[in-house]
């Protein structure tokens, strides 16, 4: 016989611990209008509540060390960050630091470049999806492809950045190959031309990060039920319509997850690429300056920690806001979808005679 929840929590047999329970509205709270049986000792709701409290306290106690560590490591840092952002050499500066940062052409360029890098997110998602579906479809030698596509992702970013710094030089291997293929017209000063350098870096980022998208999507694809796809095929769905109408909708949640992760990456996780490929300068000029490098330079090279803190606080605030907004939008979408599904199902409610006319779910 299954043990009751209280029994599990308290460790005592439910029969001895549980007094007669009087149904009560709400979350076990006795309604003022409900008469309780006269009984010695605590009210009937109390043991259940006590058990819940004990359970909650137990959870809290177990979580306390981790919570303290989080508060110290993360909470303290964040608070300190905001404090530094509004002070200058220990004196209150209000929003002066923020204003200085916002008026800095380098910071504005950095923000612009981070936003431009967001273009890589849909590209990555589409590329990863395409490759994953190809392999999923049983591409000949798919294991080798899987390895090759994922390989860049396990390489350290500094290694990749150094290698591509060489490849993408004016007289580097890429331009030489293009020249030998008769495609010299496509050759460019990939990292030395301010009009091209950010896009070249984006290409390197896509080359590496696509491996993550591929593996993520492939793993989800492999977990999908085969029946749906087989049914669609039997119904005559072609490759495109099958995946567009059947597969991708089933991957929606993982695609969303990936987009969020990569969005964060493009905003606040590209420092390694930029630092190494531009030799810590964000150049030529400010053409590859990103917010992380801006923060780093101000904090450690230009003796302006207050500006670094202001920029970091801005970045953090905006990221949290965007993330929260994204979650909110997603929750709203899910809620609306759920409601519309309910409504659809509601249309199919069938009054069943003999039950007093109330509607019941069919089936």
């Amino acid at each position: 016989m299954e043990r009751s929840r209280q029994e599990r929590d308290s460790g005592a047999p439910a029969a001895t611990a549980r007094p007669p329970v009087v149904p009560a509205p709400g979350r076990g709270t006795p309604s003022p209008g409900v008469a309780h049986p006269a009984a010695p000792g605590p009210p009937a709701w109390r043991p259940a509540r006590q058990a819940r409290w004990r359970r909650h306290w137990g959870v809290a106690v177990w979580m306390l060390p981790a919570a303290l560590v989080m508060a110290l490591v993360f909470g303290y840092s964040v608070v300190e960050l905001y404090v530094q952002a509004v002070t200058n050499q220990g004196s209150w500066a209000g929003l002066a630091n923020v204003r200085l940062v916002l008026s800095d052409p380098y910071f504005r360029a950095a923000i612009e470049h981070n936003l431009q890098l967001l273009i890589a997110v849909p590209v990555l998602a589409a590329l990863g999806l395409f490759l994953a579906i190809l392999v999923y479809e049983g591409l000949r030698g798919w294991r080798a492809y899987r390895f090759m596509i994922f390989l860049p992702y396990i390489l350290p970013v500094p290694v990749i950045a150094v290698v591509f710094s060489q490849l993408l030089q004016q007289n580097g291997a890429l331009n030489e190959i293009l020249g030998k293929l008769g495609l010299g017209v496509l050759a460019a000063n990939w990292l030395g031309d301010p009009n091209v350098s950010l896009w070249a870096m984006m290409g390197v980022i896509i080359w590496r990060e696509a491996g993550f998208a591929f593996v993520l999507f492939l793993a989800r694809l492999l977990s999908l039920p085969q029946e749906t796809q087989e049914a669609a095929r039997i119904d005559g769905a072609g490759f495109f319509s099958l995946h567009w109408r059947i597969t991708i909708p089933q991957l929606r949640s993982v695609i969303w997850f990936y987009a969020v992760i990569e969005g964060i990456t493009m905003i606040s996780w590209v420092f390694n690429y930029v630092y190494i490929m531009s030799n810590g300068q964000g150049g030529p000029g400010d053409s590859t300056m990103v917010t992380e490098l801006y923060i780093y330079q101000n904090a450690f090279q230009f003796n302006a920690p207050q500006l670094a803190a202001a920029a970091a606080a801005l970045l953090f605030t905006v990221l949290v806001a965007v993330f929260a907004l994204g979650l909110g939008v997603r929750a709203l979408v899910l809620w609306r979808r759920s409601r519309s599904q309910d409504a659809e199902r509601g249309l199919r409610l069938t009054p069943v005679s003999g039950h007093g006319g109330e509607a019941v779910w069919p089936g």
């Binding site: 200085l100 800095d104 030395g192 300068q281 150049g283 030529p284 000029g285 330079q297 090279q301 230009f302």
Partner: protein, 484 residues
């Protein structure tokens, strides 16, 4: 990069060499000149330094001069915190030998050395200053790093303990390390910068005379370019070369570093003709095909390889790297000169250099002994030993340069003795990075004109004045103390 403030040029590089340092020149063989033989000279240096006790010193300004440099009797223990092994391998062994030799002369004096890390040099000294205890002798990078501890009151002027007749031999002492008439730190060794190396074989093959004027240089560029030879090889993707170019070209029109300091603090403008014309010259070099086409996508050392390989006729080198290039290419094939001149200022046609220095701390109990040891470091035997141990040039015009084998190094030293201020040391690091590095990339990439670069440079300078008030206060003080 270790430093977080101050002049970018004075910051050490993370590699063996600091390609970013500067220069100076001065002389005077003081009391040690009484000694003839080397051993006697060493002994005399310690002994005669006491003879200068109480002598008035004719340092510029208000310097009172040394009280005494006599080494007291009784056990004395000194501590020296230093840096330099990182950029001058062999320095550690030289210092150990020097201390041993000094101990032989003064058995009552023992010296302990602590080699600091690049990142730890300044923070460790700042912590010691707060505690009021730590080293007796402290190492300082040149430029503003040798000024700031004096402004903060953490060191004593070495000119209070070392005779002017001696200090005048220390290269850069009066150019970079002097404030309000006091010499605050004593130069130790040189960071010469930046000669233009040329390949005699390539120039001769194309019947080109060594260019000494700007027009000759531009003409040579066009001739070489037409012949398929890269005239000059470099790389700016790592930025530093922008600072070098500033030092080589930016000083040609100015009459004093005060012009630069004034522009930094807002009393002048970097768009004025004297301070801005070099950007147009740089753009002219670009348009005349002087530089390798890959200069914006390569790091400096990558660009320099074209010179070694015989694909480029000229390149720019750190002074400390000259022997390496000469040995790789061939002694007879490499010539050395300052950047050809377009300006008529006193610094045109001269090499800039800086000196790494040592100072005497405020809390040292034996400042006279500290000074005595510093002077011992400058005795001829130790100067020559320094060069042999490290391959670097000591910051002293008494260095017996005739003992150096490579003619290019001899020439370099002589040019440094009569050198010019290393300009990059006179601007804040942020201005160097966002002003010089970034705009040199754009000008050499053809994306920006000289006038645009000068305007952007001025914008950065204006901004730095707002964002780093503390550093501006230091620069203001510095600008006030430098004669125009």
């Amino acid at each position: 990069m270790a430093k977080v403030s101050g002049t970018a040029a004075s910051r050490p590089s993370s590699g063996r060499r600091n390609h970013l340092h500067r220069p100076a020149a001065l002389r005077v063989w003081g009391t040690c000149a009484l000694a003839g033989a080397l051993a006697l000279g060493i002994a005399a240096c310690g002994g005669t330094s006491g003879q200068s006790a109480g002598t008035a010193v004719s340092t510029p300004g208000t310097a009172p001069g040394p009280a005494t440099t006599k080494v007291p009797s009784g056990p004395i223990h000194l501590t020296m915190w230093w840096w330099g092994q990182q950029e001058a391998p062999g320095a550690s062994a030289w210092l150990a030998q020097t201390i041993a030799a000094y101990h032989k002369l003064h058995p009552n004096v023992t010296i302990t050395t602590v080699l600091q890390t690049t990142n730890g040099l300044i923070p460790a000294f700042d912590a010691a200053a707060k505690a009021g205890q730590g080293p007796d002798i402290q190492y300082f990078w040149g430029g503003i790093y040798s000024q700031e501890p004096g402004w903060a009151g953490n060191i004593r002027p070495v000119s209070d303990y070392i005779p002017a007749s001696e200090l005048h031999h220390y290269l850069n002492a009066y150019r970079e390390d002097t404030y309000q008439g006091h010499v605050w730190t004593a130069p130790w060794y040189l960071q010469p910068s930046f000669p233009l190396l040329y390949r005699k074989d390539i120039l001769a093959a194309h019947h080109i005379a060594v260019p000494t004027t700007w027009n000759q240089l531009i003409a040579a560029c066009k001739t070489l370019k037409a012949a398929g030879i890269t005239p000059m090889a470099g790389g700016v993707s790592d930025g530093w070369f922008g600072g070098w170019l500033y030092s080589m070209l930016g000083g040609q029109q100015i009459t004093s570093v005060k012009q630069v300091l004034d522009a930094v603090v807002g009393k002048g403008s970097f768009t004025s003709a004297d301070l801005a014309s070099w950007w147009s010259r740089l753009a002219q070099m670009k348009s005349s095909g002087c530089w390798n086409s890959s200069i914006t996508s390569q790091q400096l050392y990558q660009g320099q390889q074209a010179f070694v390989q015989g694909k480029a006729a000229m390149t720019v080198s750190a002074g400390t790297a000259v022997p390496g290039f000469v040995k790789q290419v061939g002694v007879s094939k490499v010539g050395l000169m300052a950047m050809p001149t377009f300006g008529s200022g006193p610094y045109a046609g001269k090499l800039g250099a800086t000196s790494q220095t040592v100072g005497i701390t405020r809390w040292s109990k034996y400042p006279t002994v500290d000074a005595n040891f510093i002077m011992f470091m400058h005795t001829p035997a130790r100067l020559l030993a320094w060069y042999k141990a490290t391959g670097d040039l000591p910051a002293d015009d008494r260095f017996p340069v005739s003992d150096v084998t490579l003619p290019q190094v001899r020439q370099l030293f002589n040019m440094e003795v009569h050198g010019a201020p290393y300009l990059e040391n006179f601007i804040p690091s942020q201005l160097d990075s966002e002003g010089n590095f970034a705009n040199a990339q754009l000008v050499l990439g053809g994306s920006e004109t000289g006038a645009q670069a000068a305007a952007k440079f001025q914008q950065v300078a204006t901004r730095v004045r707002i964002t780093d008030s503390k550093e501006m206060a230091d620069f203001t003080r510095w600008a006030q103390s430098v004669a125009g």
